[in-house]
Every structure is written in structure tokens, then in C-alpha cells.
């Protein structure tokens, strides 16, 4: 019940925002939601399965470029472009996953990086389709049921609804028995195998799911921006989204979204005041690691728990006495 309440509130808030916010802020919010989806998708493998990828931009880029190229050459119909983006992300994830899941830990990180850089090189070199280093510009606005989404507000509504859908889907997946298995894999894969789980299949499924929603985020970014650059598929993009997940709180649903919001806001706001925004961003990372290692989500939870502890329970509890035997 509570869940539905939360969702309706979010829905109402989103519906109302264009009437409250300026278009600059709507743009900002749209971007946050897109990166929120992107971070959520990465979180499936990083936060839940414990596979840290530094190549997630490959899916974002694949989704973005596919949507853009389809819109330019075939049809700007949103269902078409989004469908194409999803299809290509699936194929890409299936291929990359096949190789990357053979390794683990830091090697996984680097192998995903390698594949995404290969995709990057491909995009960069295929000047004819992708515009190469100049990027792909002049992409027509998406069309939904014959309606051209020509302004920020429409795009925002599309992004916001898809965000809610993705959030719900991923929420259900991670809460499901399947999600529990992923968490188990992150904890102790060997034991899970002994329990009878074919862990490779689970990891592969998680990887593909993660890739799909990465692609969705990419396609949305194309609708939002009307322009795609190779930098969207570069490793720095993978790095940024990984940071969003880590700073927000890996392995939680809300965390990555909060992380995306923080990073997008910081980049936008800080860089209007100073050219030294990298220093400030860096300082924020450091502060998080040293003082709030469990991320934004962790902070809010700690604060919440702190209040509870002070009011409800004594601070030190005696575990030994709890034992029932």
C-alpha cells in the first residue's frame, strides 16, 4: 500500500513540475531523471550483483546513437527509435556479457572498459553514420502517436513516465527472488553454486537487464538533447555513472537516483560559478568516501535511524542476552 502511495505522489509531482519550474529547471530535472535511469541500470550489476563495470557507456551510447540514426534515416516515431535502441542494447549486452562474465573483479572492470572503448572507436570511425568526432546533430524530435514532442515539457513527460516505469520494473526485479540471488552472488558466489544456483545465468541475465535500461537511458538522452557526441560513449561517461551509483548508495533503489541528481546538479551549478569545478567535484568525492562511505542514501538512513534510536531504543543493546537457546 505504502508503495502505491509513494508512486502516486511521485506521479503527481512530476505532472505538476512544468507548472512550477522554469524551463531551465525542467531541463535539469529531465537530465537528472535520464541519468537516474542510467545509474539505476548500472546499479543492477554494480550494486546488486557486485560486478563493477566501467563500460556502461557502451549501452548508453548504443541506445542514443541507434535512436538518433533511426530518427534521422527511418522514422522519428518514439516507439520505433526506443524499440531500436532496446534491441541494439540487448544484442550488445548479450555479446559483451558473454565475454566479460568470464572474468571477475578488477578484470571485469577493465574488460567492460575494453569493450566499451571498442564500441567507442567504432562509433568514432564510422563518420558516415555517426558524424564521427563532430557528433550526430540535426536529429528530428521524437514523434509519439503522431504528435511531435517538440518542446521541453513534452520530452520531460515522456522521460518522467519512463523513469517511473523503469524504477518500478527494477524495483520489482531486485526485490524478487531473482534479485535476492543477485545479492547472494555479490556476497559469496561459491556458496550460491553449492546451493544449486547456476550463477552464470543469473549474472548474464543481470548484465543484459542492465544493458537494456542503459540503452533506454541513452535513447531518452537523444530525445532530450537532439544531439549525440562520441563523448557520450567514452569511458568518462562510464566513470560518471559509476560515481553516481557509488555516491548515491550502491545496492539501493533510491541511492543511484540521488547520486545522479547530486552529480548533475553539482556539475551544472558549480560550473557556472567557477572554472575550478573539477576540484570541487573531487572534494565532494573525497568527503563522501571519508565521512559518508555508505552514500547519500546511507546518510539519510543514518539520520533517520539516529532519530529513532534516540527516541525509541536505548543506544547500546546487549546481543548476548538476545540469544534464545
Amino acid at each position: 500500500m505504502k508503495i502505491y502511495l509513494k508512486f502516486s505522489t511521485a506521479l503527481l509531482l512530476f505532472a505538476a513540475s512544468p507548472f512550477i519550474l522554469t524551463s531551465f529547471h525542467i531541463n535539469l530535472l529531465t537530465e537528472i531523471l535520464i541519468f537516474g535511469i542510467f545509474a539505476l541500470s548500472l546499479n543492477v550489476i554494480v550494486g546488486y550483483t557486485g560486478l563493477v563495470s566501467l563500460g556502461h557507456a557502451a549501452f548508453f551510447g548504443a541506445g542514443a546513437y541507434t535512436a538518433g540514426i533511426i530518427a534521422q534515416n527511418i522514422s522519428a516515431n518514439l516507439l520505433f527509435t526506443l524499440g531500436g535502441a532496446v534491441l541494439l542494447s540487448v544484442i550488445l549486452a548479450c555479446i559483451i556479457g558473454l565475454f566479460c562474465l568470464k572474468v571477475s573483479g578488477f578484470y571485469f572492470l577493465m574488460l567492460t572498459l575494453a569493450f566499451s572503448q571498442m564500441v567507442y572507436s567504432f562509433v568514432y570511425q564510422s563518420t558516415g553514420w555517426t558524424g564521427g568526432s563532430n557528433g550526430l546533430s540535426g536529429i528530428p524530435n521524437p514523434i509519439l502517436f503522431g504528435w511531435e514532442l517538440s518542446n521541453t515539457v513534452w520530452v520531460f513527460y515522456v522521460v518522467a513516465s519512463l523513469f517511473l516505469v523503469v524504477y518500478a520494473i527494477l524495483g520489482i526485479i531486485t526485490e524478487s527472488p531473482f534479485g535476492k540471488v543477485l545479492v547472494g552472488i555479490k556476497e559469496n558466489e561459491k556458496r550460491l553454486k553449492s546451493m544449486g544456483y547456476h550463477t552464470n545465468i543469473y549474472k548474464y541475465a543481470a548484465f543484459v537487464i542492465s544493458g537494456i535500461f542503459g540503452g533506454v537511458a541513452g535513447a531518452l538522452y537523444t530525445y532530450f538533447n537532439g544531439f549525440i557526441a562520441p563523448s557520450d560513449i567514452y569511458w568518462t561517461m562510464s566513470g560518471t555513472v559509476l560515481i553516481m551509483v557509488l555516491i548515491g548508495g550502491a545496492g539501493t533503489m533510491l541511492g543511484p537516483v540521488l547520486g545522479a541528481a547530486l552529480i548533475v546538479l553539482l556539475e551544472t551549478i558549480v560550473s557556472t560559478y567557477t572554472n575550478m569545478w573539477m576540484m570541487i567535484l573531487g572534494a565532494v568525492f573525497i568527503i563522501f568516501v571519508i565521512f559518508f562511505p555508505s552514500g547519500i542514501y546511507g546518510i539519510s538512513k543514518d539520520i533517520f535511524k539516529g532519530i529513532q534510536n534516540h527516541t525509541v531504543r536505548p543506544k547500546v543493546k546487549n546481543i548476548s542476552n538476545e540469544k534464545v537457546s
Binding site: V52, L111, L246, M278, G282, F285, I286
Partner: protein
């Protein structure tokens, strides 16, 4: 290449080709050794501290810039730069380890990645404030400035010296890691910090030393590479990615692996540029992918037994 050969109707074509291959081989070797000089500090710190130091590129950059300041501004001596820059970087590494990294050992790899990336960002802007955004470069010292002819082809002497420097460093690190008690203690500390403390080893001190040593190597690499690669904004991230690739291809925790991988990447990139110039960037990552799929722990990485 084919274009060139088509136009070259002479009968010495075969000989030329072999000369070129030899020349490219030497190029590859020297580039590979340059990669090794740059990467070894990262490899050391990751291989034995388990810390993926994303600020390694920044330390390398600071080494280069300090080296520049020493040669260009205060004195004119490359050798003095080679001495002071690593020390300055070592000091920075010391501060970094004691005040920041120190807290993250218990938090795990990801926190360290985030932390060191943050540090790299901060250093990026600090370097910009101090040294500006222009492209700078260190002049090769007179004594190493000339060129040497090998197989009828000219090579800068400095490049050949780098090959020697790389080998010396490799042997040095290998010796410390394998032939001294140090190596064992550090690797033990990696798997169970608490326990190594209970055996009477002040592991934080050891960790600090290793990190500082990594800093020294980074600073040294910065000065050595600057005459070839130059100093410019964003150099640290370019270098970092390349270093990570070399590190992974070689296999974590193995200096011999890093050494092998440096040469492999150096030679492959050089020949890649020669044969398929547009794809050289693609090639390195493909190499990494192939190697990892074939050997999931890199070329010489050890499969660490589970406890």
C-alpha cells in the same frame, strides 16, 4: 604503407622492408619501456596494496610539472629535476596516504577508486592553477640529446636510454617483491590486515611506505616521460587509462607481467600504427579483451587461492 611501396620501384625493396621492421621493433621496445616506467608505480601499489590508485596519473603529472619547473625556471639541470621531482611527489603521496587513503583500507576497493578519483580531480585543477594550461615540455639533457643509428635508421639516444632505465627499475622492483620479507608481509597485509598486526608488524607503516614508493616511481616516470610525451591539461587521464590497460594485460600483482605487457602493448601499438594507423587505439583494447578472455587473470597474474 602499400602506397609507399608502390612508388618505390627500386630492387632494394625487400631490404628496406626489413630495415623498417627492425626500426619499428626498436620503436616498439622503447615505447613499451616508456609505458613500463609510467605504469610500474601503479602496478606496485595495486599489486601489493590492492589500491587502484586513480590518482597515479596525477602523481605522474605532478612529477613532470615539478621537473619542468626545476629545469625551466630555477635551474637548468635535468638531473636535478630527476632527483627532486620524485621526492616532491613522494611527499605528496605521503600526505595523501596518511590523511585520506588510510581510512579506506577497511572500506574496500570501490571506495578507494572513488577517493583517488576525487584526488585526481583536485590535483587536476591545482596543476592548472600552478602551471597553467599551455603545453609544456622538458628538454632532454645535452648528454642524451643525440641520435644513434641502428640498422641504418636513426634513433634518438634518449629513447634507447629509456629502454635501459625500464629494465633497471623492473629488476629492482622484482627483487624487493620476491627476494625480501617485505613482499610477503605486504601481500599478507592485503588478505588479513588485522592478523598481520597481531604478528607484530606495523602494517600501516608498511602500507605508507609502499604508497610513497609508488609515488616516487610516478614522479620519476613523469620526469622521464615529459621530454617525449609533453605536459598538458588532461595528460594524467590519458596516461592513466593506458597504464591501467598495461596493468591488466600483465596481470595484477606481477611485476614481470607488467613488464611483459608493457613490451607487448608497446610493440603492438607501434606495429598497429604502422600497418593500420586508424585503428591503433582500437587495437590495444582488443588486445586486452583477447588476453582477458583467454587468460582471465592477465598474462602472468596469479590465481589467488581462496582462504
Amino acid at each position: 604503407m602499400y602506397r609507399t611501396l608502390e612508388n618505390n620501384q627500386s630492387t632494394t625493396l625487400e631490404v628496406d622492408k626489413i630495415d623498417i621492421l627492425i626500426a619499428q621493433m626498436v620503436n616498439g621496445l622503447s615505447y613499451g619501456m616508456l609505458l613500463f616506467v609510467i605504469t610500474c608505480g601503479l602496478a606496485l601499489v595495486f599489486g601489493i596494496l590492492g589500491v587502484l590508485n586513480l590518482a597515479h596519473g596525477s602523481l605522474y603529472m605532478i612529477g613532470g610539472y615539478v621537473g619542468y619547473s626545476v629545469t625551466a625556471t630555477y635551474t637548468q639541470s635535468f638531473w636535478l629535476a630527476l632527483l627532486t621531482a620524485p621526492l616532491v611527489v613522494a611527499f605528496i603521496a605521503l600526505i595523501m596516504e596518511r590523511t585520506l587513503l588510510h581510512y579506506t583500507y577497511k572500506l574496500g576497493h570501490l571506495s578507494q577508486v572513488l577517493l583517488t578519483l576525487g584526488v585526481a580531480y583536485v590535483f587536476h585543477d591545482i596543476a592548472k592553477i600552478i602551471w597553467g594550461t599551455n603545453v609544456l615540455s622538458i628538454r632532454v639533457p645535452e648528454s642524451l640529446a643525440g641520435s644513434v643509428s641502428i640498422a641504418g635508421q636513426l634513433f634518438p639516444l634518449y629513447r634507447l636510454v629509456i629502454i635501459a632505465v625500464g629494465i633497471v627499475i623492473a629488476v629492482g622492483i622484482w627483487w624487493v617483491q620476491n627476494k625480501t620479507r617485505w613482499g610477503a608481509i605486504i601481500r599478507a597485509g592485503l588478505s588479513d590486515r588485522e592478523m598481520i598486526g597481531a604478528l607484530g608488524v606495523n602494517i600501516s607503516l608498511v602500507f605508507t611506505s609502499v604508497f610513497v614508493l609508488g609515488g616516487i616511481l610516478a614522479g620519476f616516470g613523469g620526469v622521464v616521460a615529459a621530454p617525449i610525451l609533453g605536459l598538458y591539461p588532461d595528460m594524467e587521464f590519458q596516461t592513466l587509462i593506458l597504464a591501467l590497460v598495461v596493468l591488466v594485460i600483465g596481470g595484477l600483482g606481477s611485476i614481470a607481467g607488467t613488464f611483459t605487457a608493457s613490451i607487448l602493448v608497446g610493440v603492438l601499438e607501434t606495429f598497429g600504427r604502422y600497418l593500420v594507423p586508424e585503428l591503433s587505439m582500437f587495437l590495444v583494447f582488443t588486445l586486452m579483451a583477447i588476453i582477458l578472455v583467454w587468460r582471465p587473470n592477465g598474462l602472468l597474474g596469479k590465481q589467488v587461492a581462496e582462504g
